[in-house]
Amino acid sequence: MRVALRRLIGLIAFLVLWEVIVRVGLLPSNVLPPASTVLVRFAGLFGNADFITGAVSTLLSWAIALGLTVLIAVPLGVLLGSVRWLRLSISPIVEFLRPLPAVALIPLVILLLGSDAQTKITLAVFASVWPVLFNTIYAMGEIDRQILDTARVYRTPPLRQLFTVLLPSIAPFTMTGVRLSASISLIVLVTTEYLTLGTVGIGQFVYFSGTTSGRMDMVLAATVFIGLAGYLVNSGLLGVQRRWLGWAAAGGAV
């Protein structure tokens, strides 16, 4: 309960700081509307049918993207983390692919997949695979050798070793990767929607009801929604981490 109180205090301090920055005139209020205005707009969003449609689409795409990310990156990370020659052979290609900016790839992906949701999901997965992949590969390198030796000595079959030894060992750090990926994929989804306007989503909503009409309050209200969604999912994942990985010293607070 103390923790919740501290968080609340932190949040309120942040909102007050925001409000003050605007009220004092450090930034013009049409560029950065005060927190109070934005919060009122935010409450209003839930009565807006366009917004609801967009939010449903974005959140659904997010769930799909995150699921795909985990399904692709964790097995791949375990594989690359344990098979040295494979990691060495593939690393040049991985290292060339990784810095590719999703925004520059938009037309290429549209050409291949069309401009519906699959494009933004693909781009989101492409961008968010890396944190999980890398944290998993790193975690594989950090497993205590004594633990691995123990598993080997008792002839744990490979598959069982994977589920009962490797995954628990890497889970805390992989989970950090998943939480990073969660925010990255949400960002890529919204940015893609915003830049292409091709699919329904929060990004598209922001463009039409915020950007094009110069309504920064609407932009920020939607931003608050995005941030809140990120917050909730992150907290959920953290809860999972605390519940199931409580034995590990690691396991984030953020």
Partner: protein, 310 residues
Amino acid sequence: GCSALNGSSSGDNSSDSSSGGLEKTKLNVGILTGQQGVSTKLAEKYGYFKDQGLEVTSKMFASGPAAYPELLNGNMDFIITNYISFFQAIAQKTVQAKIVVDVDQLNENGLVVIAKQGSGIKEAKDLVGKKVSIHQSASVADVLLRATLKDHDVDPNSVHYQQIKFPDIPAAIQAGTIDAGVELEPYITQAEKQGAEPVLKIVTGSTANITAAGYIALDSFIEKNPKTVAAFQRAMVPAQKAAADRTKLLEVLPDLTGVDKDTASLLNIDTFPTSVSASQLQRVITVMQNYGGLTAQLDANQYIVPTPQV
């Protein structure tokens, strides 16, 4: 086929009902935001497409270049693009396509340079050494501003060009991030509310009434579906006329721009031509050759499908 992901609006385009001898009746078209999408929306609303036996689903794109991949991969049958992009694409041989409908001609109040009130910028030569936004390099705004500067005997390279997107220009001017910017509607009207004013016309003189955007289709599509193309062109004629009617325009514009009705009623409205004109398009090519880095010699006649007589 997931309606929640794509919003509920996307229609099914699988089955082909053959009616009126058209090769294809279900069409997907890509449109742009703002006034350039108005006529298509009106055609949908008032059934001009249906009158021609067409079932059209429109989809919005942020900019011309963004829609090309969808044209190329066959998801879109027609897309609206600005002509600057189109001729660049032609010159780069990225597409083999023709203009089927001329959608939007600029008028002198629809695309102007704006600056803060009392900024001291009043004419072309005042822009020398100033930071001026042109939305994006090699865009319509860029090319027309350079042409206008040249018309006023100002060296186009004496201005610091900045790439700030049309929607962000008013705030950037107000904050002093830039001195001036080429702006279009509906942002001009919004900027005026925030203390900016038009200071220089750039759709005037050699660029007066220059045509800006239109529907294109791939050559292969046009060859295979001549009747469909003609039907589409016929449907767009009343649509273009309707767009020129402010009351009708106001019915659909808010959906295309996000502006409220009050602002929309103050907007400067473009011209909506009802036929494709090779000479108009040749002017675009000339301006691009002079100011837009286009080196190819293009003949506008080769890139149009004349509008059929109704």
